[in-house]
Symmetry: none
């Protein structure tokens, strides 16, 4: 099994300016390929220490992955330091300069001169962008960057390999998933496959109690995790190949889905909104939203998903009473007697949005995310031809962003439950 | 200045199961005390590798901080491994056993036998829980854990010090803030203070070119970095105390703000929306939004900020043509002649929202975030009594979420620029 180490380069990491999400992402991906990650380290933009740490890791492991330090400024030292440490000269490549110019042109500007350094690769490096039919190749390769200018690099020498990746996660993650992973596949030894069962509406402890016997098994292992407002169970199997791993996972995942049926909204889905857009689309249904406390968050999450334009017609963010009245038709009397944060107002907001946008479903939210109106709480509502339902959400603390997220989740889960009930009734 | 290294112990970190927030927290705290953190590393629950990495760090640095591995299970090896590496015997302490039993009793259960290991400390260790009047003490100390069972440890030998802290952030962070920081204060040699200048509308390279001479200075140092759609410059000064550090930083920060004036939106602010809510509120101005491509993201970001209800009256997410017509008054002819993704439609959306919500400013967005309508692009618009302005944003790639974020940024930056122009004109 290939042993590897990870070096994240960047003084901003050492100063604690940013969170190191790259380490986590790569750790998971490499585990999935069956690579054993023995160490992760962070080192600053310092060529001397970077060289030292790189060579120490190169000595110990088969693979050394590095993130960061591929940018255009003087602080960006990874490319030069690693190539110097391995005794490899760099050469500027016309095709990389050209594609970088194109990147800037597409954004309506010229390429600054300092970016030219990023078009340098180890002499003789070959472009890699597809399936790895080369086996375990010696030599150097570069990986195109679809979201930035610096290409990634793989430098294979004497049976070892250094892989240099960009620091910004939005450049590194797609590059890894689209090309680097395929490059690494000949070295992948056995697999570790994980499936994540996603639930809402049940707490982590209750979920663990219902699946206690499954949590005790070693392979596949079942581990609970909490995300804010959600509980997940990760089922992980180690096996010789993906098919064997799946055959270990499937019966356990099915059992979990059976026991937690009212709460499970999907498996290996990134979030509930992805499932909702898919379900709404498959059944030709439309949705709208009337948002107060969530301030656009419900519509934002739904429209984050490709294909949302087929199903979400629109939303109104009604952040004050008169907008609730004028744009959503909430009755002045309702606001007087029950105030904006009430079951009644939430219902009228949902009904108003459904009428206004002419959709099959409409969601609404209203509440107090922070401040002195304690105990803090909110209402999520859904309106459809099957009626109007409202759910009250109590907040444990004063975290504005968390409380808004919990309300978004409550509204989206109401939609999930309504879609399921609707589909069962009309099946 | 005390040099230090950080070792985070835990296989779950190597597997990417969790995000390493401890590293960021300690990096910032230590920087604030004037400690120079040269390396951070993560190592698994493996006594052999941990001993190796600990001794390597101990050789290089004055302080070695470790988190994790102080728990009660067989996987928890930090205490024993470090003490063995330093040749120090451990002894079980009655007072620690007693306080641990109390911890379990308060939770209505008995202490499991395995927790007894956590009551072991280096022989002769003394409790530390208050002000450090000892100066730079030799010997061993333990720090009480208000939120868990394992005490933290400080082991001072031959002018160096190993500090062992619990892994769970909710135990480690309070312990550090309440006792460890005070223990470290005699070694705190001056401070390191950073200020972050935030800009929009200028790329990282262009920004670096305009400040090239400033990037060359050693103290204060100026380092550029990119966030998605933004560029930042971090000004860091080392000095005897906070006042001296500020006096080093201020002239440089002012010079940066002067040179990058059209692009700087704030210093040490979490994001542009925080600045906008503050500015709008201070000038008693209101804003609304008409969102297509951004799907609620503009309203969401503005309402993420406390105090938003004073300034944001509402928004319309108009995700299809007829909603743009019916809810925002966009002319059918405009949609026919120019389509939904055009400067003209963006203008009408902004004007329609401003009229509908009766606000001082209104923002609008429309565009293609992904798909085959290439080249992908969007328009952000702003309407106010000073007129309607539209900005075209070209997208470099097909990343839906990134492209929506860039459009949100463009709209919010338009508002920032309009507010500044408005305030200068009406000052």
């Amino acid at each position: 099994m290939a042993s590897c180490e990870l070096l994240c380069v960047g003084t901003e990491l050492l100063l604690g300016d940013i969170l190191n999400t790259n380490a986590r992402f790569l750790a998971r991906e490499l585990a999935g390929l069956g690579f054993t990650l023995h160490r992760q380290a962070v080192v600053g933009d310092n060529p001397t220490r970077l060289r030292e740490d790189f060579l120490a890791a190169w000595e110990r492991a088969d693979f050394v992955f590095l993130t960061g330090g591929l940018g255009p400024t003087a602080d960006d030292v990874t490319r030069e330091t690693v190539c110097e440490a391995l005794g490899l000269p760099l050469e500027e490549r016309a095709e990389l300069l050209e594609s970088m110019r194109g990147f800037f042109r597409a954004r309506g500007c010229d390429m600054p001169r300092s970016n030219a350094r990023q078009a340098c690769v180890p002499a003789g490096a070959v472009a890699f962008s597809g399936e790895n039919k080369l086996g375990k190749p010696a030599g150097s390769y570069y990986f195109p960057n679809a979201n930035g200018t610096a290409p990634g690099l793989a430098i294979c020498v004497s049976g070892k390999c250094a892989v240099l990746l960009p620091g910004p996660p939005n450049e590194m993650e797609p590059m890894f998933l689209q090309t680097v992973r395929s490059f690494l596949s000949p070295w992948a030894d056995g697999v570790i496959v994980s499936r994540m069962v996603r639930t809402m509406g049940i707490g982590e402890s209750a979920m663990a109690e219902l699946t206690a016997d499954l949590l005790d098994v070693e392979n596949p292992s079942v581990a609970p995790y909490a995300k804010t407002g959600e509980s997940c169970l990760r089922v992980t199997a180690r096996a010789k190949n993906a098919n064997e791993a799946e055959s270990l996972i499937t019966p356990v995942a099915e059992e979990i889905r059976r026991r937690l049926a009212p709460y499970v909204y999907g498996m290996d889905v990134p979030n509930i909104e992805t499932v909702l857009i898919h379900e709404l689309s498959a059944h030709n249904k439309t949705v709208a939203a009337a948002e107060s406390i969530t301030g656009g968050g419900i519509a934002k999450r739904l429209t984050d998903c490709p294909g949302a334009s087929r199903v979400l017609r629109g939303a109104v963010v009604a952040y004050c009473d008169d907008v609730k009245r004028e744009q959503l038709g909430v009755h002045a009397k309702t606001l007087e007697e029950h105030t904006a944060v009430s079951e009644q107002t939430a219902s009228e907001m949902a009904r108003g949005a459904r009428a206004r946008f002419g959709t099959d479903f409409a969601l609404a939210s209203t509440g107090w995310a922070d401040g002195e109106n304690t105990p803090l709480h909110a209402y999520a509502a859904i309106d459809s031809e099957d009626g109007t339902y409202v759910r009250r959400i109590a907040f444990a603390g004063q975290n504005r962003l968390t409380n808004r997220l919990l309300t978004e989740n409550a509204a989206l889960f109401l939609l999930y439950q309504a879609l399921n009930a609707h589909n069962s009734a009309h099946a």
